[in-house]
């Protein structure tokens, strides 16, 4: 059974059709990169998969749970890093982790996992500072940590590399690799094609809310891949 199954997904905001009939199947252990221009529908698709945005029509099944009918069960299997913000301004990094652990009902060992993630993402020294004082890159790294804390079956990362330093990028790629190796489905939305190719084995190109191409990520690497990608953007 695929971890993520999307059928005929449509999302409309007033007169704007953000997603128009997306079909997607992501088996466990697979990494899929969602790429495309601004406004292509990548973030909206991930928001629907995370349960943050109801779909106008279509079906989204997460690990066998319909996100509309069983939102709690589906959300429990997902870890999500939003594209903007994603953090409570006046809560510390540790308080974010504590809140997530309590709301998700994680066992007491969560703090060991949290400490380890903070160390790997070079945030241990800033764990007790409020996130309003974080740089953009630090905020992105903490969002990835929060998404990965409970070792979800579906990891959704929206622009996780945006403004992140090379060490942070390395830590994020490592976490994506670990998630895939334990059988999680990973979806990454990014504008950084090289990193998308490194992180994922499949790539899906979106244009104006529709999937215009789906291929092995390696096909988008190198000068020829980049040229092909540009032609798909239209």
């Amino acid at each position: 059974m695929a971890q993520v199954e999307v059928r005929g997904l449509r999302v409309r905001f007033g007169d704007v059709q953000a997603v128009c009939g997306v079909d997607l199947t992501v088996p466990g252990g697979t990494g899929v990169a969602l790429v495309g221009r601004n406004g292509a529908g990548k973030s909206t698709t991930l928001r629907v998969l995370a349960g943050a945005q109801p779909a106008t029509s279509g079906t989204v099944i997460i690990c066998g749970h319909d996100i509309e009918r069983e939102p709690e069960a589906a959300k429990a299997r997902v870890g999500y890093c939003p594209d903007v913000g994603g953090l409570i301004p006046r809560a510390t990094a540790w308080e974010h982790l504590q809140l997530a652990a309590r709301l998700r009902g994680l066992p007491a060992t969560w703090s060991d996992r949290a400490a380890e993630l903070l160390e790997r993402f070079d945030l241990a020294g800033a764990a007790d500072r409020i996130t309003a004082g974080f740089s953009h890159g630090m905020g992105r790294r903490l969002s990835v940590v929060l998404a990965a804390l409970h070792e979800p079956d579906v990891l959704l990362l929206d622009e996780p590399f945006d403004g992140v330093d090379p060490l942070g990028v390395e830590a994020t790629l490592e976490e994506i690799g670990r998630a895939r190796s334990r059988g999680a489905a990973v979806l990454v939305s990014t504008h950084l094609l090289d990193l998308a190719v490194q992180a994922c084995d499949q790539a899906v190109v979106l244009r104006r809310g529709e999937i215009v191409a789906a291929a092995p990520a390696a096909e988008l690497s190198g000068p020829h891949g980049a040229e092909h990608y540009r032609s798909l953007l239209g």
Binding site: R47, A50, G51, A52, Q53, P54, P71, E72, A73, K75, A76, V78, Y80, C81, P82, V84, G85, G86, L87, I88, P89, R90, A91, T92, W94, E95, H96, Q98, L99, A100, A101, R102, L103, R104, G105, D128, R129, I130, A132, G133, S143, L146
Partner: protein, 511 residues
């Protein structure tokens, strides 16, 4: 915070920097254009016309003051209160009101003089300032009964109001700058303690005479004589011009002293770890409480809203029936700090939080509880001054009316704020010391709505206490609390809709 630029000069090859008034006007126009919905624009326009009409009613009202009223003393007191409001209200907003959060206009290099002028232009949206202006105009016309000098008097009032407002802003910016250092903060606390001491240890006469000084200037032009009024107006205009120059410098100085960019408060401060909360609800509650008490504008606002009415009520030595009015004004003011857009407490974290499996109602209940706690605290502090120095000992009906007013005002305000938070969310993170939970126009409408909602029942309770009738207090309290309960229930049902929750999360987390 935008880079402060105090001098004149070109901003590029061949470019001429427009004056600060033009820049402020351009920002104001942009803010107006950002009111996208036609019905919102109409609402704001109607509210503006209504406000002007009420000001126009001051002339006929002045002819119907209660017998035995002494307009000269009242005018001096009104002038003093106006001046206090003009200086303290922008101080609560971190020095001055802002049209846009700093990060939204960072690329526009908004200068300190532009910030001062846009703050001055926004002042009429402050309900306390507006109410004092209406009172001042009414009392001035009551005092000057001679015919033929109406225009001169109007010019005088306009000059007085402008000068007091601008000087108030200069003072507020200066105090905001002084408070950027630990010594300055200490000095401001000592000054506050001194004022409270003067009030509560029987030296309020001294404070009264100091504050009432500016108000007496208007009284100089009694009997509506033309020449003294015009001379005073001219002098006040000069004072306003000087005031704005001082405010420009004070604002630039204050911004220069901010070493943490747009952040207000110690963002690099380490907070100790506490044990994990026992339940998910307590975890949410702890997070929301921290969001309130770690925010500079919220802490400062709650302090001002609590202490200012306490000091004023102490100075005025209100009787018990009048005390029943206080909770409405303090409660609605406290709710304006964050309650009208309660989900801004989680700011950018709203979308992430919405993806965590939990009972979605808990997030709403947590906001409601924090709102109830903070509003209740501000009301309790605000009432304390009046209770300690109230004239006459209380009777049972007055105590019941005051208690009913506290409970009804706090609950009605909370019910209305919950509804506004769910139906009209705004993007606001309340990080800067001048940040507000909604844009200026919306804040003005919310202020009017909440003041009317809590003020009318409070006025009724006050009248019942004065007439010494007990049963209407109980009946109206029960009816109003039931109404508030129904409103809260309706809001909870609305919150159950996933589309509504998604809209709230996306809006408060945007940017």
């Amino acid at each position: 915070m935008p880079t402060p630029v105090t001098g004149r000069g070109g901003s590029g090859r061949g470019a001429t920097t427009p004056g600060p008034w033009r820049c402020a006007w351009a920002l104001l126009s942009l803010r107006w254009r950002m009111v996208r919905k036609r019905r919102h624009r109409i609402g704001l326009a109607v509210a503006g016309l209504l406000a002007l009409s009420l000001l126009g009613l001051a002339l006929p009202l002045s002819q119907h003051l209660p017998p035995g009223a002494d307009p000269e003393t009242a005018l001096a007191l009104a002038g003093a209160i106006f001046f206090a409001v003009a200086a303290i209200a922008p101080l609560a907003a971190g020095g001055g009101y802002q049209l846009f959060p700093p990060d939204q206009v960072a690329g526009l290099a908004v200068t300190a003089p532009t910030m001062v002028r846009s703050s001055v232009l926004l002042t009429p949206l402050n309900l306390a300032w507006y109410a004092q202006t209406v009172g001042l105009v009414t009392l001035t016309f009551a005092l000057h009964t001679a015919a033929g000098a109406t225009l001169a008097l109007l010019a005088l009032i306009a000059a007085w109001v402008s000068a007091a407002t601008i000087v108030g802003q200069a003072i507020a910016w200066t105090i905001a700058g002084v408070r950027r250092s630990s010594r300055g903060r200490l000095a401001s606390w000592v000054l506050l303690a001194l004022v409270i001491g003067l009030v509560f240890f029987g030296r309020s006469q001294l404070l009264n005479s100091v504050l009432a000084g500016p108000g007496r200037l208007i009284a100089l032009t009694r009997n509506g004589q033309l020449q003294p009024a015009l001379t005073a107006a001219a002098l006040l205009t000069v004072l306003a011009w000087l005031g704005i120059k001082v405010a420009d410098r004070a604002c630039a100085w204050t911004i220069h002293r901010r070493t943490l960019g747009t952040q207000a408060g110690p963002t690099d401060q380490q907070f100790g770890r506490r044990s994990a909360p026992a339940t998910p609800y307590r975890a949410l509650l702890r997070s929301d409480r921290a969001s309130v008490w770690r925010s500079a504008p919220l802490r400062r606002g709650l302090l001002v809203l609590g202490l200012l009415p306490a000091v004023a009520a102490g100075l005025a030595r209100l009787d018990w029936p009048s005390l029943a009015l206080l909770p409405a004004f303090v409660g609605s003011g406290a709710a304006l700090l964050f309650g009208v857009n309660a989900f801004c407490l989680v700011g950018g974290g709203a979308v992430w939080l919405s993806t965590i499996p939990q009972n979605h109602r808990l997030t709403l209940y947590s906001k409601a509880q924090v709102m109830f706690e903070t509003t209740g605290l501000a009301v309790a502090v605000g009432m304390s001054g009046g209770l300690l120095r109230a004239r006459f000992s209380p009777d049972r009906i007055s105590v019941a009316a005051t208690l009913a007013s506290v409970l009804v005002a706090t609950t009605l305000v909370m019910a209305s704020c919950l509804r506004l938070s769910v139906v009209h969310p705004h993007r606001a993170d309340l990080l800067g010391s001048r940040d507000t939970p909604a844009p200026p126009g919306a804040m003005a409408l919310y202020a009017a709505r909440l003041t009317a909602l809590a003020g009318i029942p409070a006025a009724a309770f006050s009248i019942f206490a004065r007439l010494q009738v007990g049963w209407p207090v109980l009946v109206s309290a029960v009816l109003l609390l039931t109404w508030a309960g129904m409103s809260i229930r309706g809001t909870i049902r609305r919150w159950d809709d996933p589309m509504v929750r998604a809209n709230v999360a996306a809006t408060v987390a945007s940017g």
